[in-house]
Structures are given as C-alpha cells and as structure tokens.
Symmetry: C2
Subunit: 226 residues, 2 copies
DNA sequence: CCAACTGAACTGAACGGTTGAGTTCAATTG
DNA sequence: CAATTGAACTCAACCGTTCAGTTCAGTTGG
C-alpha cells in the first residue's frame, strides 16, 4: 500500500507513443467500420498490440472512443460540416476574388465550391464519423457537445468569415449573414452529406450540375448590384 | 421428426395480432431510444409480453428490427427525406397555385414550405429513424436499399411532380428538374436534417428567416419571367 | 566500443463476472 | 387447443484484470 503506487499514468516514451498511435489508428478503423460494438480484442489485434497495452494507455473502451473522436476533430479532413480543412477552399475565396472583373468572382466561387464539394463528397471517412457520432450521441453526450461546437450551428467560422470579407469589400450584398452562410452550405454540401448518410454517392454529372446551378443561384441573390 | 413439426409459422388470430402490434411498437420505441444494442428482455418487458412470445412471432432480433423499419416506411410521417406525408404540403402546392396573381404563387410556396419544414424539424422520431438506419447500414445492407429507394435520390416523386406540374402550367421555368428538386430540398429541409442528426434543433426565428429567404431565392431563380 | 544491467513497457494466455440471444418446459389462459 | 407465460437454462461474446515472462531503450562499467 505505498501512497502513490496506484497512480494509473499512461505509459510514456518513444515506444509507447508508437503503440499509442497504432491503437488509435486501429480503433478508428474498426469503430468506423463496425461501430462502437466492436470488441477490444479485435482492436488490439488490428493494432498488433496486446490488449493489456490498450488498457494501460486508455483506461476503458469509452476513453478510447472519445480519444478517437477527439483526435478526429483535430486531424485534417474532419469536422461535422466538412471540417476546417474541407472548407479551406472557401477561405481562399476572399483572397482569390481580388480582380474586379465580372466573371472573376463567379470563377473564384466555382473553383472554391468545386474543391469544397468534392472534398465532402469523396471523403467517406468523415461521413462514417458523422454516422458514428450521431449513433452514439446518447452514450456520449459530452462528445456531441464538442462535435456540435464547430458544426452546422451558427459558427462555420471560415465560410461566414469569407462571406463577411467579400461583403465588406463590396463584392457581395448580404443582409443576413447567418442565413446566407447556411444557404451556401445547403446549396453546395448538404445534399452530399444527406446522400452520404445512406452510403450513396452522387455521380459526377449531377454533382457538377448542382454545383454550377447552386453557385449561380447564390450569386444571383447576393452578388453586389443584383 | 414429424414431417411438418418444425414449421415456424407465426401465431395467428385476433389475440396474436394485438400482441404482435404491441411488440412492434415497443421495439420501435426502444430501438429509436437506445439503438440496436437494446436487449430483447427489455423489449418484451416494454411490450408487456413474454420473451417467448416475441420469438414465436419474430424468429430473431434481426427479423424484429427489419419488421420495425419496414413498418416505419409504410407508416405515416416517415421516409428518409421527410417522407411522403411530410412532403404532402408540397403536393397540394400545385393545386393551390391556381390563381394568377403575382404574390399568390409566392404565398402558396411559403405556406407549403412552412408546413413541410416544421414537419421535418419537429418530428424527432423520423430523425432518430434516420440515425438508426444509417448506423446499422453495415449490418442490414438490404434494408439500406429499401430505405434509399424513396429517399434523397433522384426520386422525391411528390416534390418533383409538383415542380413539373407548375412548369407545365407556365408558372415556373425549370431547365433541370432534377437539380431544382434537390435545391428545394437543400434550401428548405436539408439544414434541419443535418441539425437534427446531432440532436440540435434550429430556433423558430432562424427557421423562419431561412424559410422565407429560401423560397424567395428559389422563386427568383425559377419563377416564370425572371 | 561493447557487454552487462535496469526498469519501464509489452506480451500471451488465462480467468472472473456480466450481459445478452435464443431455447426448453411445465403450467396457464382465452 | 393454440397461444401465452414465467422461469430456468445453455451458449457465446465481451469487458476488464491478473500474472509470469519477454522486449526494448537507455545507462553504467570495463
């Protein structure tokens, strides 16, 4: 009964870091493929690691799960609405629209939208993450909170910021930034998110038609001098 | 080993029908609240029925689950994209727009859209159904097929039909019906579906602003003579 | 430069306790 | 007489733990 003998500190060192990474990767793979119901033995086997090691690093299945989701929130190409990185093309939009030409704003929007849409449509991993989190929301309420934080809610900081910048520069005329941001999401990425929820993927032709029409619709409403 | 002794026919009769209904109802309630992981004992208890009776009617947990989902597809206020009944307001839209006034089409659209949007936003049961099905897609592939059938895919027969009718009557000018249908879904209901996936509900004020702006945006693009 | 040593991290396999799916059966009910 | 009940039962999966022995990174001593 030594005083500090029962301190359950996770292992440290270079080897531990590698193992830990392998565990998280394996857990993400299996959680995304099979859901939370997958066994810890399977995860340990997939990671090429003993089950005891898993429990030395993460104390429980719940802790491992939250670590996986938290890691996915930081990692590139993640986030509920497509994530920070997926929306990055939209961030560059404000810079790309420096020209004064009529069609330049439209072209910049098209390019940014295309990159954004394809990132959302083709990233099956993020789609699986959304499904997984929403399915386990009742078991991990605090996780839904963090997930919701940078999500379709009023935030979308990147997209909203780009639209605000373009408004301040006089390129767009947006009376309700919150609504306009939601509409841009709705016209471009929401259909792909809804499709993806059932494992369906929109074909290239329809994707392109929807994209072009969506950008034109948005600009017809909000381009300055319309 | 009597020849026909092992025939697993489900019970019949008026009593059996009542029990069966109670089981399906209880199963739907618990599946929606707790997910597929809920125990059969809990379902039997919720239905006020012995577990043996459950297994006499449905042979397995999977069979019970598919029966619940299949029943939800027929039952009112269901379907992936809000369902047939949720989209019913849109079906009546074509009839309501008989007047020739300028604002009448817009008013009819607003009313139909409001009913539709509120049906989708406030029906937490359908949201839970979507989450449940997408979460268990890997376990029930054939179910995802049926679910997808009357879903956000190219179908939307009701909405697309209403838009086609309005186009034929010269009230709308829609070059690409498939795209326009998707956009109407996107502008009006997709944001609520995405919100609902994380248990979030859009507040009334934002809901109304988004709705009005969405209808105006759609009509600005597709109203005849624009 | 290298062998021996050290201690933390890891392994493999087994085990305890629990949960849950599905079955059996005698008794009961409508 | 078919349907239902309640309770006990089997069987498998799974979470988490224990333990005896092994690997590995780094340090010491020659």
């Amino acid at each position: 009964m030594s005083p500090a003998a029962t301190a359950p500190q996770p292992p440290s060192g270079p080897r531990a870091a590698r193992k830990r990474q392998a565990i998280v990767t394996a857990a993400r793979t299996l959680f995304l493929r099979e859901g939370f119901g997958v066994g810890m033995d399977a995860i340990a086997a997939e990671a090429g690691v003993s089950k005891v090691t898993v429990y030395n690093h993460f104390g429980s299945k719940e802790a491992l799960f939250t670590a996986v989701i938290a890691g996915a929130l930081d990692h590139p190409s993640s986030g509920p609405g497509g994530g920070e990185d997926s929306a990055a093309p939209l961030a560059r939009l404000a810079e790309a629209a420096d020209g004064d030409g009529d069609g330049e704003l439209r072209t910049a929007f098209m390019d940014a939208a295309r990159a954004w849409v394809h990132a959302v449509r083709d990233d099956r991993e993020v789609a699986a993450l959304r499904t997984l989190v929403s399915a386990e929301l009742h078991r991990f309420p605090e996780l839904g909170e963090a997930w919701r934080h940078d999500s379709p809610t009023g935030h979308h900081p990147v997209v909203a910021g780009a639209l605000r910048t373009l408004t301040e520069r006089g390129r767009l005329d947006i009376p309700d930034l919150e609504v306009a941001t939601l509409q841009l999401y709705a016209l471009l990425v929401h259909p792909h998110m809804v499709f993806g929820q059932y494992g369906a993927v929109m074909d290239d032709d329809l994707t392109e038609r929807l994209l072009v029409s969506g950008v034109d619709m948005f600009l017809a409403q909000y381009a300055a001098g319309a």
